[in-house]
């Protein structure tokens, strides 16, 4: 093996590791290292408790058990075709594919919901500030409905949309919508007046002020609101799925509960945790790309 890797190379070709990484990459590696250490410590304590006989493996199976037998856990993800009449379960996707399909389905519901919620609530929020009659007509109802917990909307989702993707997406939209509309309005009210006045002195129409000044000015804060609500979106999707709106990670958790399978519960929790983390990271990347002009402030706090 080693001779194969270095074949055709002189000794000087061998790269020196530190020069290979930029400062930024090194910071990322550092974060990865700390992340691994943090999770490793958590799992280590758990394993220790199991080893000492304090954690009952039937109720709190340690990571090496619930992560150990992937194929065994994956079996339970085969919910994609189970409930469809006239389909032979053997024709369904393989367990690994089933895991991928389940994860994909749940993530897609989260992100489609986020997208719809963002577009819808920004539009409504802007219209409320743009047209006074619209504000008078709509805002009282929105304010009244905003404190209602999204879970309370679950029956409504099922009445209206039955089962499938739609009620789960609806739940995500509902969970974010009211909060984001109100947030949009308050962001609009907080736009730097000078920016608006500059546009006005240059002859901007009301429409141009909204499109060219107000909307770009409020986007950064709204993306942060969206990110803060991401975990909430994951939560309501799981709830929606667990009540039988179709297949998905919530469905698997429910299955695990009903069949008393702690390993499956923890396996699914691990998957959900990882997905939540990855989607937050994805939104952060989008935030940095789309909102290139917003300075990063985290460094300031780190200096304290």
């Amino acid at each position: 093996m080693p001779s194969e890797l270095t074949a055709g190379r002189t000794v000087t070709d061998v790269p020196v590791a530190p020069r290979f990484f930029t400062l930024e990459q090194r910071a990322a590696l550092g974060r990865l290292g700390w992340g691994t250490l943090s999770v490793g410590l958590f799992f280590g304590i758990w394993e220790l408790l199991w080893y000492l006989g304090i954690a009952d493996p039937k109720l709190l199976p340690p990571p090496h058990i619930f992560l150990g037998n992937f194929a065994d856990q994956a079996r339970f993800f085969n919910t994609a075709t189970r409930w469809q009449i006239g389909v032979n379960p053997a024709d369904g996707p393989s367990p690994y594919e089933a895991v991928a399909i389940t994860i994909g389905a749940t993530s897609a519901r989260v992100f489609v919901g986020l997208g719809i919620a963002a577009v819808l609530s920004i539009t409504i929020g802007v219209l409320i500030r743009y047209f006074q009659f619209f504000e008078k007509l709509v805002l009282p109802t929105l304010t009244l409905l905003s404190p209602v917990s999204p879970i309370a909307w679950l029956p409504v989702a099922i009445f209206i949309f039955g089962i499938g993707n739609k009620p789960a997406v609806f739940m995500v939209v509902i969970a974010l919508f009211f909060h984001m509309v109100l947030s949009t309005i308050s962001q609009i009210d907080n736009v730097n007046r000078n920016l608006i006045n500059v546009a006005r002195t240059m002859g901007a129409s009301k429409r141009q002020i909204y499109w060219r000044v107000i909307i770009p000015a409020i986007l950064p804060q709204l993306l942060i609101v969206l990110r803060l609500n991401l975990f909430g979106a994951w939560m309501v999707v799981l709830v929606a799925e667990s009540t039988g709106v179709g297949f998905g990670l919530g469905q698997v958790i429910m299955l695990a509960r009903n069949t008393f399978n702690p390993s499956l519960v923890f396996f699914t929790i691990a998957v959900i945790g990882l997905l939540g983390f990855l989607s937050d990271w994805a939104l952060r990347v989008i935030q940095r790309r789309a909102l290139y002009w917003v300075p990063e402030t985290a460094g300031v706090l780190r200096g304290l």
Partner: protein, 274 residues
Amino acid sequence: MASKPIQPFSRQEAVVCRGIAKTWAEGTPRAHEALRDIDLDIQPGEFVVLLGPSGCGKSTLLYLIAGLEARSRGEIWSFDDAVTSPSPDRSLIFQETSLFPWLSVWQNVAFGLSLRGDPLEERRRAAEAALARVGLAEAMEKRPDELSGGMRQRVAVARALTMRPKVLLMDEPFAALDVQTRAKMQDFLLDVWRDSGASVLFVTHSIDEAVALADRVVVFTARPGRIKSIIPVDLPRPRDPFAPESESLRRRLMEELRSEVDRAFAEQEALVGA
């Protein structure tokens, strides 16, 4: 001064203010009188400095002349037009940065042109010319937060100039800059003013700045702001800040201001119950 008869004007003046008054939140319990009985004429191409203690209503007057806020009483004319709303003929430059952070420097400068729908090529060329005039041709593609405070204010000036305003209203534009940068910016502003031909109404609370820039200095009283005196400055440019004439002008302005600053202080102390 309050009982001065209304004087005729030819409508060739760059700005004419007659009997201007402004009370913020008028008719509410929070009503707050900012300006009273302002009569002021500004000739085309003239450089007028408004000097007064902070809080006396200088910014308020600029906002009224820009047409950004409604006045409580009085009339404002600019050349042939009664001022009722903002116009590209009257550009306002703010004390704090007012560049759009999401646009590049040249897009900021060309913002007004893009509102009019000018084609991209033209906008770029106009922005390039304006930026060259303020010595920032290199910074076209930069973002505002990559610039220093002085550079940002120069971009703001370039942005105002692309609209070819007849009146340039400036609200303490250099107040946040250090002394050396500020002196440079004053020289630069005088250059720009000379070749643009616009009238400038420049607000400051700095006597040195007034001495360096003004054709006329308008001294305000403490709030509610009224015009206390108008002092013509006949010193040739470029001005030597240490010349005896500059020195005596500075002393005169200081005397005019002192009692007003004392009054402004007394009022502020009364407000907080000291």
